[in-house]
């Protein structure tokens, strides 16, 4: 065999997953376009009065640094240093969870102030876009907990765990890139 099974199949999966991320990117691109078209809305709440810098900055700090902590886990995968993998995933999970909490807090607060999804199209596109991103983070958290379970149980071959972990890494970094775009396109124009 010129190529080991795990190596070849990993490369298949990686290409497939990158293509899938392309699909996701197209969906987000469409939602960004939607947001740009409808913001600011001719009537109803204006983004300047809705957004609150503190939550956005806090959330960004946690989510963006979680991409960094995931790199620790990635470096642990190379030579299978368990403590690095555990630390990496653990902190990433924690930061992701804090981000999630801040998002829920943000949405809850806005809704309480009367800025609901149906108030106008600006808020509609805001909630759909940022909400879809948040649900990606939530999905990623579930994914991470499954990874941790498998690492703990040590029930799957190491090559497969590394494969699954790497695919997850791509996902998490992608979700982070989307968040950067959200900061740039959604929040910044109305917070400065």
């Amino acid at each position: 065999m010129s190529q080991s099974t795990s190596e070849a199949l990993f490369k298949d999966k990686r290409l497939g997953f990158f293509l899938y991320l392309g699909v996701e990117a197209t969906m987000f691109a469409t939602l960004f376009a939607t947001y740009i078209i409808y913001t600011p809305a001719p009537e109803g709440p204006a983004p300047e009065s809705v957004y609150e810098a503190r939550t956005v900055i806090l959330a960004s700090i946690f989510l963006l640094s979680s991409s960094g902590t995931l790199l620790v886990a990635e470096s642990g995968l190379k030579d299978w240093t368990l403590w690095k993998i555990w630390t990496g995933i653990g902190i990433t999970f924690l930061f992701g969870a804090i981000f999630m909490g801040l998002e829920v807090h943000e949405f809850y607060k806005y809704a309480h102030e009367g800025y609901t999804i149906g108030a106008n199209n600006f808020l509609g596109s805001f909630y759909v876009l940022v909400g879809l991103h948040a649900s990606h983070v939530l999905f990623g958290l579930c994914w991470m907990s499954l990874l941790m379970v498998q690492l703990k149980k040590n029930a799957i071959p190491r090559a497969l765990f590394i494969e699954k972990h790497k695919i997850f890494n791509y996902y998490w970094h992608f979700v982070d890139v989307i968040w950067v775009l959200i900061i740039i396109i959604v929040y910044t124009p109305f917070l400065i």
């Binding site: 199949l9 497939g16 293509l19 197209t26 149906g118 199209n121 799957i156 090559a159 497969l160």
Partner: protein, 632 residues
């Protein structure tokens, strides 16, 4: 019709229930008697590309009959002026043309082509299966689930009624508040997910699993068109998904994106919708290229230009969407831009047409059924292309827009292109699916009746349209001066319907009377004809080494066997699993929960779908394969 307990139900819905019940019982008895349960179970749990491809085609044929019946109802209603056929007037008519269009595009043409891709592409490129066999099964069952959701609407007397485009604001809850268009949304979302997964699968297969030596520049044209089509799907379908997602929010959660800005929906829909028609036609082009080259006994003329033409069509396909919106009022600049890009598409398409003609020229022709369909396609599609260029003239389009001229045009391209291509492909690759060769004589009957019926149906519609008959109207008066065209059209539609009965007869006769054929019944040129019919699992063991285009043909010509490649890459892992079908079932329940706003059902089925992901995570077939490798 007034029924006890359920109330007023139109009689066509009742007829459908009765007919389905009877057919269900007959089918059940047949399966019991013939003891086919193990076979059915085998197909329900398979991940093999040939079996999945066959199922795609089988289901498409069933949906084709169902959507074809809609077409016959439409033609019956329009046969004579001021007609009152059965129940198909007013909103009922809206439902019948909506289902006809949506079914034909999403649940007939697409899966037909995807089925043929499944069967033929891995065999053409020397792959032992698609890259992700499990995902392939998921794709198929999602497509079927979407189709069933969509079809269920009719049985629940709530068929979608806003046209296959579901234009807003008509499709928002302010105008169509019932479950009807919810069915449309969720049927398309579920099957669309399957389509996206298939596209990913095809691209990875083609990029990574080609036989050694089969460079991209030696790849058969059907595989090439599959690759480009899959790329189009990857960009186009997510836009539809997002548009329907936003529409869902409008209908369910109180936003008003498309109520305030209906044109935005039109943009999104056609940014998907125009690439979609190239998604439908490019694979057909690929089929014709392979078939014509095979039966003209010649290498395809201008191979490189064929590939470039497909790529350019694919690219231009994303730059023409607003030609569906010439009359919206986007302004002269926009209309001019989109008119010019649209006309530009005629250039690569023309190149392809001439290449087919030059392939035939001085070839040693064998006029078999697949070849006959290809020969019928060329003039038919050219006519559709010419009306396409006419429609691209933005100023003139103000006259053609939403008239029967448009209806005639897109049927000439979709039926005259895609469906003829699908038929050619089915006759051509039938041995690879089932091991048998379809009867040639009945096949030719099918061809002639279908093509004559086709032209009878759609040629007069050009003139009806030019005489001012609009689309989507359920009747007209004698003074409208379109009666003659319509009655001919109706007669032609029935001829097409009859021709399809020959397909059934043919399949029945072939399976009753004939034995399996050998690997190469058509004296083929490409790798799929080197493997047994029907294609076995892991057919390329040993793996052939490819040294030229049409490798099998040149091998036969020089009287040599294909070289064997040493140390080929590992094959994808096949599994037997019921997970995909159960997952699709769960998503179907989830969709029904959404259609009827049953939140408890949404929560339960949603949680169920997520549990599937966990289940899959722990039952990955790679666990075993990688472990073996570890132990070695």
């Amino acid at each position: 019709m007034q029924l006890p307990l359920v109330g007023d139900i139109p009689s066509d819905v009742i007829a459908a229930w009765v007919l389905s019940a009877v057919m269900g019982v007959v089918l059940f008895i047949f399966v019991m008697k013939k003891r086919k349960w193990p076979l059915i179970w085998e197909y329900m749990t398979t991940t093999h590309h040939r079996k999945i491809g066959t199922m795609y085609i089988l289901v498409s044929i069933i949906f084709f009959f169902r959507a074809g019946m809609d077409a016959l109802f439409i033609r019956m209603q329009l046969a004579v002026p001021n007609n009152d056929f059965w129940v198909f007037q007013g909103d009922k008519y809206n439902e019948v043309f909506t289902t006809h269009g949506t079914m034909m595009i999403f649940f007939v043409a697409m899966p037909f082509l995807i089925g043929l891709m499944n069967v033929a592409v891995p065999l053409q490129i020397g792959a032992n299966d698609l890259a992700f066999p499990y995902l392939n099964a998921v794709s198929f069952w999602l497509f079927l689930a979407g189709g069933l959701i969509f079809n269920m609407s009719f049985f629940m007397n709530a068929a979608p009624n806003a046209g296959w485009t579901a234009y807003t604001p008509l499709s928002t809850d302010g105008f169509t508040s019932g479950p009807n268009n919810n069915y449309y949304i969720f049927g398309l979302q579920v099957s669309g997910l399957g389509t996206i997964m298939t596209a990913i699968n095809m691209i990875v297969t083609i990029m990574r699993l080609r036989a050694p030596g089969l460079k991209m520049t030696r790849m058969p044209l059907f595989s090439w068109s599959t690759l480009i089509t899959s790329l189009l799907i990857l960009v186009a379908f997510p836009v539809l998904t997002t548009a329907l997602f936003l529409l869902t929010f409008d209908r369910y959660y109180g936003t008003s994106f498309f109520v305030d800005d209906p044109v935005y929906y039109q943009h999104l829909f056609w940014i998907f919708g125009h690439p979609e028609v190239y998604i439908l036609i490019l694979p057909a082009f690929g089929i014709f290229s392979d078939v014509i080259s095979n039966f003209a006994k010649k290498r395809v003329f201008g191979y490189t230009s064929m590939v470039i033409a497909i790529a350019i069509i694919g690219l231009l396909g994303f730059m023409v969407w607003a030609h569906h919106m010439f009359t919206v009022g986007l302004g002269a600049m926009a209309n001019t831009f989109f008119a010019i890009t649209t006309m530009m598409i005629a250039v690569p398409t023309g190149i392809k047409v001439f290449n087919w003609l030059f392939t035939i020229r001085r070839g040693v022709m064998r006029v078999t059924t697949p070849m006959l369909f290809s020969l019928g396609f060329i003039p038919t599609f050219v006519m559709g292309g010419v009306t396409g260029v006419m429609l691209a003239v933005a100023a003139a389009d103000y006259q053609y827009h939403d008239s029967y001229f448009v209806v005639a045009h897109f049927h000439y391209t979709m039926v005259g292109g895609t469906i003829l291509g699908v038929f050619a492909g089915i006759y051509y690759w039938y041995p690879k699916m089932t091991g048998k060769l379809l009867d040639e004589k009945l096949g030719k009957w099918h061809f002639w009746l279908f093509v004559i019926g086709f032209h009878l149906t759609f040629l007069p519609q050009h003139f009806a349209g030019l005489n001012g008959m609009p689309r989507r109207v359920f009747t007209y008066t004698t003074e409208d001066n379109v009666f003659g065209f319509n009655v001919i059209s109706t007669a032609g539609a029935f001829l097409m319907g009859i021709s399809m009965l020959f397909v059934i007869w043919n399949i029945y006769k072939t399976h009753k009377k004939t034995d399996n054929v050998g690997p190469d019944p058509w004296k083929g040129r490409t790798l799929e004809w080197t493997v047994a019919s029907p294609a076995p699992e892991h057919p390329f063991e040993p793996m052939p080494k490819v040294t030229s285009i049409d490798p099998y043909w040149y091998g036969k010509k020089d009287n040599r066997e294909l070289e064997v490649a040493e140390s080929p890459r590992p094959s994808p892992i096949a599994v037997k699993t019921a997970q995909p079908i159960l997952l699709a079932g769960t998503l179907m329940v989830l969709s029904i929960g959404f259609v009827y706003h049953w939140i408890w059902m949404q929560v339960m089925a949603g949680a169920g779908a997520l549990l599937f992901l966990i289940w899959r995570f722990f039952t990955d077939e790679r666990i075993e394969a990688y472990r073996k490798e570890e132990e070695r």
